[in-house]
C-alpha cells in the first residue's frame, strides 16, 4: 500500500508516538502502579490491623465475656470503616460466633487458616464477583485463643481506584493524543498541506504550460520561503521560456523562412539528411522537410550529379572542418539539375568525433544564368552603345559633308559668289534637290536605326497643335501649289495645349501630308485636326489613287511602298510611314489608314494630348 498522504503519515506517527509513550509510561508506571496497589493493599492490611488493634480489647473482652450484643455493636462500628464488607468472629472450634454477614461467613467458614499467634493473614479471595481481602487474626486472651476474627475488605474500591487511575491515565493520554493530533493536523493543514497544495497546483499549472504561474503562500515560514523561491523560479522559467521562445522563434523564423537551404547531414560516405528547412526542401523540389529526410537516404548517389563532388566536399570538411562556396550540381526530386553553392562545417562531440555536418545550400542556377544573361546583356548593350555612338558619329559624319554640299550649292544659287548663268542654276538646283533628297534618306535611315536601337528619345514639351499645323502647312504649301492641288486645313478652334515631341509630330504630319501631295495627281489634300477626350485626332486625306488591300496591310512596314512600280517613280525610301508609326506609337497613339483603290486615302492618327512619357517600343 502506498502511503501518499502526508497527513496520514504524520497522524500515524503521532499515533505510534503516543502508543510508544503510552507503552513506555505504562511500563514505567506499571511497577509503580503495582507498588501502589501493593502498598494500598498493605495500607488496607494496616488499616484493618489498626482497626483490629483498636477494637481488640473490646472484641476480646466481648468475646471473653460472651457479650454478643456489645460485640455486635463493636462490629457494626468497625463496619463503618469504608471498604470493610463484613466481619466474622469464630470460636476456636471454627464455629461462627457472630458475623455481620452470615452468608458470606458461611461461604468462607470452611477455609482453614494457618495462623500463628500475633500474626495476621491477608489473603485475596473472590466472592460474588467481587474481590475480597480477608484479614484473619486469632484473638488471644491470657495466652489462650478465644476466637478468630475475619475482616472482609472489599477491594472494589481499590480496584475502582486502580481502574480509575488507569482510566484517567488512558483518558489523559487519549485526550492528549486527540488534542495533539487535532492541533498538529490543524497546523499541518494550515501551515503545510494547504500551502503545499497551493504550490502543487501552481506546479501543475506550470506543467500544463502556464509558465510564470505564481503562488501566494500565506506565511513567511520555510514553506513561504519555498513559495517565494518557487515564484522566482517560475518567473525566471517563464522569462526563460519567453526568451527561449523568442530566440527559438527568431531562429525558427530564420530557419523556416530562410531563402537559403539549411541542413544537417550525417558524415558517413553515403550521407543522410537529419534536418532540413523548408527552403532546402523547396530548392531540392520536395514538398516538405519531412519528405526530404524520408526520401533522401543516400545523398551521394541520389543528389549529386557528380559523386566525386561529395567525396571532395567530405575531404575538405575533414581537413579544414569547414568549407565555403562549394559549388556542385545536384538532382532535384524531379531529376532536374541545379547548380548549388554550399557552405558547411563539421560538428564534433566531446571526444572530437564528427557527429554531423551542418550547412547552407543555395540554388545558384539562376544566378549563373543571370550572370550569363548579364554578360550577354552587357555585350548587347555594349553593342547597342557602340551602335548608337556609331550612329551618332555616322550621322554627324554623313551630314557634315552633305551640309557643306547643300550649303555651298545654296550660296551659289543665292548669288553670293556672283551671278550664276541660268543653265548652271537649273543644274545646281537639281544638285540641291538631290542633295536634299539624300539628306532626307540619311535622316530616315538614321532615325530608323535609332528607333531600332531603341535610341530614339522623344523630347516631350508643350506645343501648340495649331503651330504644328501651321509649320506643316507652310512647308508644303508650295509643293501643293506646284501640283495644283488644293490644300485644305481644318483645325478645330479650341485645341488644348499639347505635350509631346513637337518636331517629331511635325515630322509625322509632314510625312503624311507630303505623301498625300506626292501621290495625288489632282484634287485636294485635306488636313483635319480634332481633339476629344484628351486625344488629338488627326486625319490626312487625299484624292489619290487609294491603296490595295495588300498595301493597306503592309503600308506601315519598313521599305514597303504601295505599288512599287508607280512609287518608284516618286522616289522615297519607304521609311517615312514606318517612322511615323513608331513616332505615333511612342507618343502612345495609333496610326491607321482608310482607303479604297481609286477612292483616295485617309491616314488617321491619334496621340494623347498630353504625353508625359514615351511608350517604350517593343
Amino acid at each position: 500500500m502506498k502511503i501518499r498522504s502526508l497527513r496520514f503519515k504524520i497522524n500515524v506517527a503521532i499515533f505510534i508516538t503516543c502508543l510508544v509513550i503510552a507503552i513506555i509510561f505504562g511500563t514505567i508506571l506499571y511497577p509503580f502502579e503495582i507498588r501502589r496497589h501493593d502498598s494500598h493493599v498493605k495500607k488496607i492490611e494496616l488499616l484493618l490491623d489498626t482497626i483490629f488493634q483498636q477494637k481488640y480489647e473490646d472484641i476480646a473482652n466481648e468475646i471473653f465475656a460472651g457479650q454478643k450484643r456489645a460485640l455486635a455493636l463493636t462490629l457494626k462500628d468497625m463496619l463503618k470503616v469504608e471498604g470493610i464488607a463484613a466481619i466474622s468472629i469464630y470460636m476456636p472450634d471454627g464455629k461462627l460466633f457472630l458475623s455481620t454477614d452470615t452468608v458470606l461467613s458461611k461461604y468462607f467458614e470452611k477455609q482453614s487458616r494457618n495462623l500463628s499467634a500475633n500474626s495476621a493473614s491477608f489473603v485475596t479471595q473472590s466472592y460474588q464477583g467481587k474481590s475480597l481481602g480477608i484479614y484473619s487474626r486469632e484473638i488471644m486472651v491470657i495466652g489462650q485463643k478465644i476466637g478468630d476474627i475475619d475482616i472482609y475488605y472489599d477491594f472494589q474500591e481499590l480496584i475502582k481506584e486502580t481502574r480509575l487511575s488507569v482510566t484517567i491515565f488512558f483518558t489523559l493520554l487519549l485526550t492528549t493524543l486527540i488534542l495533539m493530533s487535532a492541533l498538529l493536523n490543524f497546523m499541518l493543514s494550515r501551515f503545510v498541506i494547504r500551502p503545499v497544495s497551493l504550490l502543487r497546483k501552481a506546479i501543475n499549472k506550470i506543467q500544463d504550460g502556464y509558465l510564470g504561474e505564481t503562488v501566494a503562500l500565506p506565511f513567511e515560514d520555510e514553506i513561504g520561503k519555498m513559495g517565494l523561491a518557487f515564484n522566482e523560479m517560475s518567473v525566471k522559467l517563464n522569462e526563460g521560456q519567453v526568451a527561449l521562445k523568442k530566440a527559438e522563434e527568431n531562429y525558427r523564423s530564420i530557419f523556416e523562412n530562410a531563402t537559403v537551404g539549411i541542413y544537417r547531414s550525417t558524415p558517413d560516405a553515403k550521407g543522410q539528411l537529419l534536418t532540413v528547412n523548408p527552403a532546402f526542401a523547396q530548392i531540392m523540389g520536395y514538398a516538405s522537410p519531412d519528405e526530404v529526410v524520408k526520401n533522401i537516404t543516400d545523398i551521394k548517389s541520389q543528389c549529386y550529379v557528380n559523386a566525386s563532388d561529395r567525396d571532395r566536399l567530405q575531404q575538405l570538411l575533414r581537413d579544414q572542418g569547414a568549407v565555403q562556396g562549394f559549388e556542385a550540381q545536384l538532382y532535384r526530386k524531379n531529376g532536374e539539375i541545379i547548380d548549388v553553392s554550399m557552405s558547411a562545417r563539421v560538428i564534433r562531440n566531446e571526444s572530437n568525433q564528427i557527429l554531423y555536418y551542418e550547412g547552407i545550400l543555395e540554388n545558384i542556377t539562376e544566378k549563373k544564368q543571370a550572370s550569363q544573361f548579364r554578360i550577354e546583356k552587357e555585350a548587347a548593350e555594349a553593342a547597342a552603345q557602340t551602335k548608337s555612338e556609331f550612329l551618332a558619329n555616322m550621322s554627324h559624319e554623313i551630314r557634315t559633308p552633305l551640309n557643306a554640299i547643300l550649303g555651298y550649292t545654296e550660296l551659289v544659287l543665292d548669288g553670293i559668289y556672283g551671278d550664276v548663268p541660268e543653265n548652271i542654276q537649273e543644274v545646281l538646283q537639281r544638285v540641291a534637290k538631290n542633295g536634299h533628297h539624300l539628306l532626307g534618306l540619311i535622316n530616315d535611315v538614321l532615325d530608323l536605326s535609332k528607333i531600332e536601337a531603341g535610341q530614339l528619345v522623344l523630347s516631350l514639351n508643350d506645343y501648340s497643335m495649331q503651330e504644328v499645323v501651321q509649320t506643316v502647312f507652310t512647308a508644303v504649301e508650295s509643293l501643293a501649289a506646284e501640283k495644283n492641288l488644293e490644300l485644305k486645313v481644318s483645325v478645330s478652334s479650341e485645341l488644348d495645349s499639347g505635350k509631346g515631341d513637337e518636331q517629331r509630330i511635325v515630322q509625322v504630319l509632314l510625312n503624311l501630308v507630303g505623301n498625300a501631295i506626292k501621290f495625288t495627281e489632282a484634287g485636294e489634300v485635306r488636313l483635319e485636326v480634332k481633339d476629344s477626350n484628351g486625344t488629338f485626332l488627326v486625319s490626312v486625306s487625299d484624292t489619290g489613287p487609294g491603296l490595295s488591300e495588300v498595301d493597306k496591310q503592309r503600308i506601315f512596314e519598313e521599305f514597303h511602298q504601295a505599288d512599287s512600280s508607280r512609287t518608284r517613280k516618286k522616289g522615297g525610301t519607304g521609311l517615312g510611314l514606318s517612322i511615323a508609326k513608331r513616332i505615333v506609337e511612342m507618343h502612345g497613339g495609333r496610326i491607321w489608314v482608310e482607303s479604297d483603290l481609286g477612292k483616295g486615302s485617309t491616314f488617321w492618327f491619334t496621340i494623347p494630348v498630353r504625353v508625359d512619357r514615351q511608350t517604350e517600343q517593343k
Binding site: N61, F64, A65, R69, V141
Partner: protein, 371 residues
C-alpha cells in the same frame, strides 16, 4: 505491666507501713478497677474496703492476724478481671473482695470458682455472678429484684406508660437490668418504645439521644454506670421532658460529676444512702465523713463486704479457703451498714432498695422499697 507494678507497690506499702506481727498476715485480694472506665467509680468501694481493713487491723486483725490487702487492678475489662483473678490466685490469697461491676465480677468469679477462692462482690447486681458457683457471694441485691422494683416504681410512682431504655451492651449489669426492667414494665402494662444500645466507651451519644428525645416516652431509663450522668444530662439538654430513671449505677459521685448534678429531675434505685436513718448508717456516715448528697454509698458496700468476710474468716480459718467459703455461706444476719445480710443458696442477700430522687442535681432520699 501496670497492674503488677501497682500490686507490688501496694504490697510494698503494706509491708513497710503495716506493723510487724509475729503471725503471718492474711492475704486478701481486692479486685477492683484501678484503671479504665470503672476506676473512678470503683475507688469508693475500694475506699470502703480499705476503711474496713484499717478498722480490723487497728483492732488487732482477724484472729490476731493482720489483713494484708492485695489490690489487683482488673483494668475495667473482663479479661483484665480474669488476669487479676489469676494473679490473686497466684498470690495465694484466701479470699477476694470485689469487683464492683458485674462484667468484672463474672470474669473473676469464674477463676475464683475454678481455683476455689471465695469471692464477695460489693456491688455487682447481675444475677449470673453468684450463679457461677458456690464460692461466689455478694452483699448487694440482684437485678432480678432491682429491675422489678424499678419497673413498679416507674409504673406506679411515675405513672409511666412508655419508656425508652438506654442499654450499655458492654455491661452485663446494664444488659440484665434493662432486660428485667423491660420485662416487668411491660408486664405491668408499660410499653418500651425504644431500646437504645450504646457502648460505654462511646464518646458521644447524639444519635441515641436524638432518638430518645424523639420517642418522647414518659420515662427514659438509663441503667448504666456513671456514664449515665452524661447521657441523662445530654438528653435533658436535647430538650426531652421525659423523666430520667436509673439504677444503682447512678449511685456514685462520678455520676453526679459526669452530668447528674445538672439533672433537674431524676430517680434511681440504690443500695444505701447516707440519708438512711439507722444507727449504723448515722454512725458510719459520721465516722467516715460521708456526705449523703455525695452519693458515695458504694463505700458502705465495700465496707460491708470486707467486714462480712472478716467475720466469716473469724468464724472459720484464716488460711483455709474452703472453710472460709463455708463460713461465708452460713453467715446469719450480718448487720452491715447497708442492711442485714443473709445469703440464700445462690449467695445473694435479700435486701431493700433505696430510691433516690434527684432534684436540681441533688440526690435526695425518696423511699425504701422492701423486697
Amino acid at each position: 505491666m501496670k497492674e503488677s507494678r501497682f500490686t507490688l507497690f501496694f504490697l510494698f506499702i503494706f509491708f513497710i507501713v503495716a506493723p510487724v506481727h509475729g503471725e503471718a498476715p492474711i492475704d486478701i485480694a481486692a479486685i477492683y478497677a484501678l484503671t479504665g472506665a470503672a476506676a473512678e467509680a470503683n475507688a469508693y468501694a475500694l475506699r470502703g474496703v480499705g476503711y474496713a481493713v484499717d478498722e480490723i487491723n487497728r483492732q488487732g486483725g482477724i484472729l490476731g492476724r493482720r489483713i494484708n490487702l492485695l489490690v489487683f487492678d482488673n483494668q475495667s475489662t473482663p479479661i483484665g478481671s480474669t488476669v487479676a483473678a489469676k494473679q490473686a490466685a497466684a498470690a495465694n490469697v484466701v479470699a477476694i473482695v470485689g469487683p464492683d461491676w458485674s462484667s468484672h465480677s463474672i470474669a473473676v468469679a469464674r477463676v475464683a470458682q475454678e481455683v476455689g477462692i471465695p469471692m464477695i462482690s460489693s456491688l455487682s447486681t447481675n444475677p449470673a455472678v453468684t450463679r457461677i458457683g458456690n464460692y461466689i457471694f455478694r452483699v448487694c441485691f440482684t437485678d432480678d429484684f432491682q429491675g422489678k422494683v424499678l419497673a413498679r416504681f416507674a409504673r406506679q410512682d411515675l405513672d409511666a406508660t412508655t419508656a425508652v431504655i438506654f442499654v450499655d451492651v458492654t455491661s452485663d449489669y446494664s444488659l440484665k437490668l434493662s432486660e428485667i426492667f423491660q420485662r416487668n414494665f411491660e408486664k405491668w402494662g408499660g410499653r418500651v418504645l425504644l431500646e437504645l444500645e450504646y457502648k460505654l466507651k462511646q464518646q458521644q451519644f447524639d444519635e441515641e439521644i436524638k432518638r430518645a428525645v424523639k420517642a418522647n416516652a414518659d420515662v427514659i431509663f438509663i441503667p448504666g454506670h456513671d456514664e449515665s450522668g452524661m447521657i441523662a444530662k445530654q438528653t435533658q439538654d436535647a430538650g426531652t421532658s421525659s423523666i430520667f430513671l436509673g439504677g444503682d449505677g447512678w449511685s456514685t459521685p462520678v455520676f453526679l460529676r459526669k452530668g447528674g448534678s445538672e439533672l433537674k429531675r431524676g430517680f434511681y434505685s440504690t443500695h444505701w444512702s447516707g440519708y438512711l436513718d439507722t444507727d449504723r448508717s448515722r454512725e458510719f456516715v459520721k465516722k467516715y465523713n460521708i456526705h449523703p448528697k455525695g452519693a458515695d454509698d458504694n463505700i458502705a458496700l465495700g465496707y460491708d463486704a470486707m467486714m462480712l468476710l472478716a467475720e466469716a474468716i473469724t468464724r472459720s480459718n484464716p488460711t483455709d479457703r474452703k472453710k472460709i467459703r463455708d463460713a461465708i455461706a452460713t453467715t446469719r444476719s450480718f448487720k452491715g451498714i447497708t442492711g442485714t445480710i443473709d445469703f440464700n443458696d445462690n449467695g445473694d442477700p435479700i435486701k431493700s432498695a433505696v430510691f433516690m430522687e434527684i432534684r436540681n442535681g441533688e440526690p435526695r432520699y425518696l423511699k425504701t422499697l422492701e423486697p
